[in-house]
Amino acid sequence: MTRDRQFEIAVLDGGALGAAAIDIATRRIVAGFAHDGLVRPALLDLLLGAVLPRGPLTWVCGGPPPSTARELMVAGTDRALFCAVLDRGELIVLAAPVAMSIALGWALVRNLAAAERTP
């Protein structure tokens, strides 16, 4: 089964909105399903450390982030976004309806992360 198919199954069966695996070095989507508009380049820059936070809270919260990101979850009024940075140089991103359980969202991300990277 191709990785795209694995993402399709995870999204459709899990009730998510879309998901993708992104190569961190090239920012290229290496696998995914319904991933258009899933994540903005500016968010990737900030998440992956290409750009440092410069907003108002840096004044009260000290210097730059201490380490690379591992997991990010942002829940809004319409959707929740789950991101997991993998040691193998990939970022798994999954968008889910806000009504979906956060535990289920992470379970889907971990299943996708566990899938082997195809050459």
Binding site: R40, C61, S67, D78, S101, I102
Partner: protein
């Protein structure tokens, strides 16, 4: 040591010390049929001789024995045979008897007339206590205890006693079954997670029913989330409250943040975590030191306080959330050994942070942050 498949394990040895020959014989018959080797003793001296003579797995001692007080025998057993687990039985168990027996290391204190099934359960528990500590603890939440047994990879049944009674079974640290007031599975688990006070008791895992499936943290988080939804649905503002994440849409319905109550809750449920109330507008570059941020976790020297100040990843999490979704209500970010959560509720911005080392601590952080969200929602909704 691994036993050969063809080498049968030796039968566990029980000593039953009781004045009543009928009880000794009925215990011998009942437990022998279950694969135990049962040695009867009519008085304390005979029981002591057996204890000195060999490896006894479980000592069952009447508290009113001839020759010595039963608690003396329990005490002697602790000295002579520390690996022997002890069960006390008595005709009229007073609270003083019970306390004395437990102080002398009894795993269970059973009342006469003796139920042989109850005794078999107690023996099963006693054998299960071959390793590890056992005893009384208090100020534990059910979630704390579940996480403890999960991390230890234990197989046992956790009984909840009190106004609401039920049981949760773990097999190798995973939640496999819950039952409460005739319900099973997730509905039972949700009902038990809502219990705020009562007693907990453990017993050996003795059944194979499976009503829960999935990794521990997923099952627990689903249970907590279902509990949140149940509470919100039952609350007075249920109809006005969106299903998830939009509950700060009606700030007028909530009261101000009670810092003292929150500090008490944090000291009890999330010790060591750092919690701040943040005002991004007041934290602009050039503002006075400390402007725009207020620490809310219990003040003063705290032995478990992990973070001297807000971690740098807090501003990172805030900016990521603003970029990802301007309508964000909750964000969690893990980086290196720190995890931060930001919660927007009722017009407040609350930051929650903890040092995390490993997956178990990360899952604990996620459960705590969800519980903090629940606390904030409940208390601000109540107007307290």
């Amino acid at each position: 040591m691994k036993l050969d498949a063809e080498t049968p394990a030796p039968a566990p040895v029980i000593v039953i010390a009781d004045r009543d020959a009928e009880i000794r014989e009925s215990v011998r018959g009942f437990m022998s049929a279950r694969g135990y080797c049962v040695e009867p003793a009519a008085d304390a001296d005979a029981a002591a001789e057996l204890l000195r003579g060999g490896d006894i797995d479980v000592l069952i001692s009447e508290l009113a024995l001839r020759g010595a007080d039963g608690t003396d025998l329990l005490s002697l057993a602790r000295t002579w045979a520390p690996s022997t687990r002890r069960i006390a039985i008595a005709a009229d168990v007073t609270s003083r008897d019970r306390d004395a027996a437990l102080r002398h290391g009894a795993v269970r204190v059973l009342a006469k007339p003796l139920s042989l099934l109850e005794l078999a359960d107690a023996i099963g528990l006693a054998r299960d206590c071959a390793d590890g500590l056992h005893g009384w603890m208090h100020r534990m939440s059910l979630i704390d205890v579940l996480q403890m047994y999960h991390l230890a990879g234990q197989s046992l049944v956790l009984h909840v006693r009190g106004d609401i009674e039920g049981a949760i079974a773990l097999r190798r640290g995973e939640l496999v079954d819950a039952e409460c007031r005739g319900r099973a599975g997730m509905p039972a688990l949700v009902e038990l997670l809502a219990v705020k006070r009562g007693q907990l008791e453990t017993s050996a895992l003795d059944h194979r029913r499976r009503s829960l499936s999935g990794p521990f943290d997923h099952v627990l988080l689903d249970g907590l989330r279902a509990l949140d939804e149940t509470r919100r649905a039952a609350g007075p503002a249920a109809n006005a409250t969106p299903a998830v994440n939009g509950w700060f849409d009606e700030p007028d319905a909530r009261g101000p943040l009670d810092r003292d109550a929150l500090a008490r809750w944090l000291g009890e449920h999330a010790p060591g975590a750092g919690v701040w109330r943040i005002d991004p507008d007041g934290a602009a570059d050039g503002a006075a030191a400390g402007a725009g941020i207020e620490r809310l976790d219990p003040p003063g020297p705290h032995p478990e306080r992990e973070l001297a100040g807000p971690p740098g990843s807090l501003s990172w999490a805030y900016e990521l959330a603003e970029l990802a979704d301007p309508t964000w209500t909750r964000v969690e970010l893990t980086s290196g050994d720190s995890a931060v959560a930001l919660i927007r509720v009722s017009g407040l911005l609350i930051a929650f942070a903890r040092l995390v080392s490993g997956e178990a601590m990360l899952r604990r952080f996620q459960v705590e942050s969800m519980r903090l969200l629940r606390w904030l929602t409940d208390h601000l909704e109540d107007g307290r």
